[in-house]
């Protein structure tokens, strides 16, 4: 059997029990039922214990040991049960007895038992059942207890309930005290959870915590003192901890006093201090001292519960405090409201007396006939009276309203024809509306009911609504309607004004409410008007309401129910006839409205009597016309004054016109107030520095400070004395002027310094009387001295200190010799402290004082060191350049003088030449060519080559050229010219080799006769292109020319002759023949066009890399002086054929430069011949025109093979037959002959050069 025990731990311990000393004896001897019971006990997982036998010996199982037995294990095993549970035996024993004696089981649910199982008496709850155990004979020998501990649940439930109840109790408590009291009640209601609780709240003012309440503890118990000073050295409770926001568990044995006795007569052992924290500031404002039940372990569950409790209480307190706060605020507001009204009422009364004294006398003055209409006093009285009336209105409105509030108003409701009463009221605004350009309409429909109205009230209602509409409407108009609707009279005032913002609408009819920033005619207004309307409407049993759209318009509505049922009967008077006349309505509202319309050209604009000269301009800005006028008048004597009606107006004026020197502005204005104006002015660079003086009705330091901080130059409070305003304006203008001058000065100084720095010019000044020197920053920089060093030198020592010793005398002398008003200017060197020298230009002027005696030396000093050096370098370079240039020009001129001419004008020959010196940089070499007019149509062509290059060869060449020209004039035959040249060369330069060819062209003989001394053969070809090289000739010049004869070659018209030098055809490594051949090939012998450019192209072709030796080319072509044209005509072309032929001939002849007389005659000839051919001959008719030299041939061919015509001799009457005679007369020769086609009639004409000139 014991083997089954060993399966559980308890079982093992059971084995260890000394059973023999128990009444049960050895387990082996136990009755079966006992054994069975033990087995059941041990194997069950449910907590169970059993007792058996006379001593009720104790057994239990694992579960029971774990849950319930606690410390008493394992001692309890085998002990008598009464010993085991001695502490609760009183509770247990009766039950056990019941079971054993009656055999009936017991049942207990959640029985509270104080168990000692953890070292202290623990409150616990168990649900258990004792059931009998019978022995083998069926006699109840023992009991079995099955137990379930429900402590946790029970305690938790209790705590939850407490919390819930706390919540219930504290909800709805509006005061802190109530909440706390409720909490304490709750604590007392559940002493098992919290034996006691003390609430302490902080009283910071007194630096202590005060007991707010105590639960479970008497008020006078020292354990819970009424207050604990924060500074107390050893307080009853450690207040520091919770006030620092921390929970603290206090061992009550450390507390000097004994805790109160709790339930079950035990004193708590621990208390938990939990802080109350204000969620807004997270600062503890108190704490709860919660006594903890000694019968429960202080575990997390418990402390958590206390925490929750305190938290809930704290929340309740916070809520109460908040509520309290709100209540107080509301009360404060209400009180303020009331105070305002009271204030106004009282003060208003106070106002009336002086107002009366204002209005009375001024009214008298205005009515006094002895006060002249244009008297300036009248205007003043006017202003005073007007404003006095305004004040009076305001006061009256306020009084009305406060009387209403106080219920002091008495009404008198009568039957009234509402339309008839309303209309005049509306129409009082008619003229004002007209003046403002607004439309005003009134429309009333018949009402179905009877209206009981107090006419005085009604007047106020209507006029206030009208005034309001008028104030905010600038364009469009106001429409007033009276309608019948739902048993009510409905008055509607609709305007097209600036409208009301949606969030303002609900507050519209509240006292003192004024719309924000609406565009209105004036900023004035107390905000009472509409409230009054609302109240008065209410008195009538009706109501006032409004709808609006911002920027579109507003509609105000007043509804009055018909009948009298809603009115207090005491105030109603019935009459048979409805009243048609309204009350004598106050006109004040209307006049006020009119005042808003005062023309822009207020008298302030009158500028008569402006002070002359350069005066400051002041701009006065205020939305109140009177104020504007007043201030403007004050200032007008001294300044030029302009006015503006608000901030926007002021800005526009400044933008369009001149910027004022000072602005005086009111603060409260529509559209843009004083501060807004100031801000805008500061943002615009044009106006940012204009001083602004603000004038405000807002008194007090704050207003002034605010104004000044915003940037106003000054801040005046209304009312102000005229003197004060004038003084402030003057001071601010002066300050501004000084500031501007200073700024300008500073700017100028800065500019001057900058300029000096750029120019490297310094300025200096010497005071001759005091012998002091001073200089500009740049001056000091130049000299390398500090200001103190420089000024310490004084004058005239400064000269020796600064000027180069070699220049000092000169400088001193120059300065000393200056006369007053004179100017000296000189260069000098200065020596800087570091030893470096600088070259400077100094200008000095001597200025005198009033008497003309020398007083100051002033001047400038400019560093020209670098400049001078640069100038010198430049000059040197230039000189070198010029020298080189000169040499070059000389050489060039010399060379050019040796060059052959470039163009030649020869009759009979078309000539083109090319010359290029071979040596680079030179213009002439040894080659030359020449063309000489010999007279009588003949031309000499010369080409020569002096061996060698450069200027030396050129000079020989030059001499030879001159010689040839000389010989040419003698008109010697070529070979003789050559002989002479030969001699000359021998004389000039014996070792020189010169080749030369001399040719003479005769256009009449069409020949060229030439002599060639060793020169390359000229080339000749006629139009046929057959080239001949003219190789005949003799040896070069200087070797003895001998008797080589002159050669001749023919040069017909169109033939070309080419002369050239070896530079063109001779190349290293190439046969000279090849060069000549190339030249032959390159010339267009057959060409007829001009030769211009041909030599260049030849050079390009033959010497693509450019010539490296001298090259000369001369190309001459015998001029062909022939022209020919022809045209063909058909008879029936429909064109003016004869005229065509004429014009053709005329044009061709003109092109050929034929004289005009010849052309004219030939035109006539042409006309005759062609007419004949067309009339008598046949088509086609061909015309040919030829010119050769100074002869023209005209041929007309036709196809008619008739007999040859003959000239006739017509009579004077004959219209025909004169043609050929005319031809005969005009031609030098003429004739006709047959052709294969038909015939040809021709006419020839020659002319002389005399004819040419005649045309």
């Amino acid at each position: 059997m014991r083997s089954t025990w060993t399966s559980s731990e308890v079982g093992r311990d059971l084995e260890a029990v000394d059973w023999a000393s128990t009444p049960l004896g050895d387990p082996d001897g136990w009755p079966v039922s006992l054994k069975a019971a033990v087995r059941i006990l041990l194997t069950s997982k449910f907590a169970m214990w059993m007792a058996w036998g006379p001593e009720l010996t104790f057994f239990c199982n694992d579960a029971y040991r774990r849950d319930t037995l606690g410390d008493k294990y394992p001692w309890a095993l085998g002990q008598p049960a009464s010993d085991v549970w001695s502490e609760i035996w009183d509770d247990v024993e009766p039950r056990v007895r019941t079971v054993i004696e009656t055999g009936e089981a017991t049942w207990d649910e959640s029985l509270m038992l104080f168990l000692e199982r953890r070292g202290f008496l623990e409150e616990s709850y168990h649900t258990f059942s004792y059931s009998p155990l019978a022995d083998d004979e069926g006699r109840v020998e023992g009991m079995l207890c099955v137990v379930s501990e429900v402590t946790e649940q029970t305690v938790s439930t209790r705590r939850m309930t407490t919390l819930r109840d706390l919540g219930a109790r504290t909800t709805g408590r509006h005061t802190e005290d109530e909440s706390i009291a409720a909490a304490c009640e709750q604590i007392e209601a559940d002493p098992l959870s919290l034996p006691f609780g003390i609430v302490y709240l902080v009283d910071r003012a007194q630096r202590r915590v005060v007991r707010a309440c105590g639960a479970g503890v008497d008020d006078d118990h020292p354990f819970a003192p009424a207050s604990i000073d924060l500074d107390e050295a050893s307080p009853v409770w450690p207040v520091a901890e919770p006030l620092a926001g921390r929970q603290v568990l206090v061992d009550l044995s450390t507390v000097p006093h004994e805790p109160p006795v709790g339930p079950w007569g035990q004193r708590p052992v621990h208390a938990l201090l939990v802080p109350f924290v204000d969620p807004a500031t997270t600062e503890p404002y108190g704490f709860l001292v919660a006594g903890l039940s000694p019968f429960r372990p202080v575990d997390e569950a418990y402390t958590g519960f206390v925490d929750l409790f305190a938290g809930q209480l704290s929340a309740a307190i916070n809520a109460a405090r908040t509520f309290d706060g709100e209540k107080r605020r509301a009360e404060t507001l209400a009180r303020l409201d009331q105070a305002k009204t009271d204030f106004f009422t009282n003060v208003s009364h106070e106002f009336r007396t002086p107002l009366t004294l204002l209005l009375g006398p001024t009214s008298d003055a205005l009515n006094d006939p002895s006060l002249a209409a244009d008297d300036v006093q009248r205007r003043r009285f006017d202003v005073v009276h007007r404003n006095g009336q305004r004040l009076l209105e305001l006061v009256n409105s306020l009084l009305d309203f406060s009387r209403l509030e106080a219920g002091g108003i008495t009404s008198q409701f009568e039957v009234v024809d509402l339309a008839r009463v309303t209309e005049p009221l509306v129409m009082m605004f008619e003229s004002a509306a007209e003046q403002a350009g607004l439309s005003l309409e009134f429309e009333a429909e018949p009402l179905s009911g009877v209206c009981y109205i107090d006419v005085e009230h009604w007047a106020k209602i209507v006029l206030n609504l009208m005034s309001n509409a008028f104030k905010f409407t600038f364009v469009g108009g106001i429409a007033v309607t009276l309608r019948d609707e739902d048993g009510q009279a409905v008055l509607t005032v609709r305007d097209t004004g600036s409208g009301i913002a949606a969030d303002d609408l609900p507050h519209l009819f509240e006292r003192f409410h004024r719309g924000r920033n609406q565009a209105s005619r004036t900023h004035e207004g107390s905000g009472i008007g509409l409230a009054l309307v609302a109240e008065l409407s209410r008195l009538h049993g009706g109501e006032a309401s409004a709808t609006s759209t911002e920027g579109i318009g507003t509609e105000m509505t007043v509804r009055i129910p018909f009948g009298r049922a809603h009115l207090p009967s005491a105030e109603v008077t019935d009459s048979a006839q409805p009243r048609t006349a309204g009350a004598t309505a106050p006109t004040a509202l209307v006049s006020e409205a009119r005042r808003w319309l005062a023309p822009e050209t207020d008298t302030a604009a009158d500028q008569a009597g402006r002070p002359p000269g350069d005066v400051a301009r002041v701009l006065v800005v205020d939305d109140n016309l009177d104020m504007r006028t007043y201030v403007a008048d004050l200032l007008r004597d001294r300044y030029e004054v302009a006015t503006a009606s608000d901030g926007i107006d002021a800005l526009e004026q400044m933008h369009q016109g001149q910027v004022p020197d000072l602005v005086v502005t009111d603060v409260m204005m529509p559209r843009l107030d004083g501060f807004g104006l100031l801000e805008r002015m500061q943002a615009d660079p044009r106006t940012t520095s204009v001083p602004v003086v603000m004038v405000s009705a807002r008194a007090g330091e704050e207003g002034t400070v605010e104004g000044l901080e915003a940037g106003a130059a000054d801040y005046l409070v209304k009312p102000f004395a005229a003197r004060e305003l004038l003084a402030r304006v003057a001071v601010n203008l002066e300050l501004d002027r000084v500031r501007r001058i200073r700024a300008t000065l500073e700017r100028s100084e800065a500019l001057l310094d900058q300029a000096q720095r750029l120019a490297k010019v310094g300025s200096w000044e010497v005071d001759l009387e005091r012998q002091t020197v001073t200089g500009s920053d740049e001056m000091l920089r130049l000299m390398g001295l500090s200001r103190t060093e420089f000024e310490a030198m004084g004058y005239p020592d400064v000269i020796d200190s600064v000027v180069h010793p070699d220049d000092a005398d000169r400088v001193g002398h120059a300065l000393a010799s200056l006369r007053v008003g004179g100017l000296a200017s000189f260069d000098q060197r200065i020596v800087r402290p570091d030893g470096t020298e600088k070259l400077v230009t100094v200008r000095a002027a001597l200025l005198g004082d009033d008497s003309g005696a020398p007083r100051t030396l002033q001047g400038s000093m400019q560093d020209i060191t670098e400049q001078r050096a640069a100038e010198q370098a430049l000059a040197e370079v230039r000189a070198r350049d010029e020298a080189a240039q000169r040499e070059h020009s000389i050489a060039e001129a010399l060379q050019r003088s040796l060059l052959p001419a470039e163009t030649f004008e020869i009759d009979h020959l078309d000539v083109a030449t090319y010359y290029r010196a071979g040596v680079e940089g030179t213009y002439v070499g040894g080659d030359w060519y020449d063309i000489i007019d010999l007279g009588g149509h003949r031309t000499a062509l010369v080409m020569g080559d002096v061996m060698g290059r450069g200027v030396r060869a050129a000079s020989v060449m030059g001499q030879l050229r001159s010689a040839v020209r000389a010989f040419a004039t003698l008109d010697l035959p070529p070979h003789e010219v050559m002989q002479h040249l030969d001699e000359l060369v021998q004389d000039l330069a014996g070792d020189q080799i010169v080749t030369c060819v001399y040719a003479v062209h005769d256009p009449i003989a069409e020949t060229v006769r030439y002599a060639n001394a060793g020169h390359l053969p000229p080339l000749v070809a006629a139009r046929d292109g057959q080239v001949r090289r003219l190789t005949a000739g003799g040896p070069p010049l200087g070797a003895g020319y001998g008797d080589v004869p002159t050669e001749e070659v023919s040069l017909p018209a169109g033939a070309t002759i080419v002369f050239y030098t070896d530079g063109l055809v001779e190349h290293r490594g190439r046969d000279i023949d090849e060069g000549i051949l190339a030249l032959e090939r390159h010339i267009d012998w057959r060409g007829t066009s001009s030769l211009v450019g041909v030599p260049e192209s030849v050079v390009d072709a033959l010497l693509p890399l450019g010539p490296d030796d001298d090259v000369a080319i001369l190309i001459a072509r015998a001029v062909v002086d022939d022209d020919e044209v022809s045209m063909s005509m058909h008879r029936d072309t429909g064109r003016a054929t004869v005229a065509e032929a004429r014009h053709f001939v005329q044009a061709s002849l003109k092109r050929w430069d034929v004289p005009d007389t010849v052309t004219r005659d030939l035109a006539l000839v042409t006309s005759e011949l062609v007419t004949n051919a067309m009339v008598h001959g046949g088509a086609p008719v061909d015309l040919r025109l030829q010119r050769s030299g100074t002869r023209v041939l005209l041929e007309v061919r036709d196809d008619a093979a008739s007999s040859l015509p003959r000239p006739q001799d017509p009579d004077d009457d004959d219209e025909h037959g004169r043609g050929l005679r005319i031809v005969e007369t005009l031609s030098d020769e003429w004739g006709m002959h047959e052709t294969d086609r038909g015939k040809c009639v021709w006419s020839a004409r020659t002319w002389s050069s005399a004819e040419r000139t005649r045309s």
Partner: protein
């Protein structure tokens, strides 16, 4: 004013007609040759003034050949027949030349 291009050929004569003091003045301009002579004759015929004095203003005639001359002759004969007269005035160079060459200056009345 008529601007003539160089290559443009005058195929037409231009006429200006005026009446003055019992005479008809016809100004002719252009070139009078075989191809334009008929135009001249035709214009004169249209005027139908063979009974009056016809004055031909010839300053605008830039060219006239024998055909033109013949036309002038023809007109003269017509005027003579009609009882009127033909006068030539303001002869251009061309007209003067041909009259000179053909020795017709004694035939025409030149004013």
């Amino acid at each position: 004013m008529v601007v003539r291009r160089e290559d443009e050929i005058m195929t037409e004569l231009t006429f200006t007609h005026d009446e003055a003091a019992g005479r008809t003045v016809l100004a002719v301009a252009g070139e009078i040759d075989t191809q334009t002579a008929d135009e001249l004759r035709g214009t004169v015929d249209e005027l139908d003034v063979s009974h009056r004095t016809l004055v031909l203003d010839l300053h605008g005639v830039e060219f006239v050949d024998s055909s033109g001359l013949g036309a002038l002759l023809g007109i003269k004969k017509q005027q003579d027949r009609g009882g009127g007269a033909l006068q030539l005035t303001r002869l251009s160079d061309a007209v003067a030349r041909i009259i000179e060459i053909t020795k017709m200056d004694r035939v025409f009345e030149i004013v």
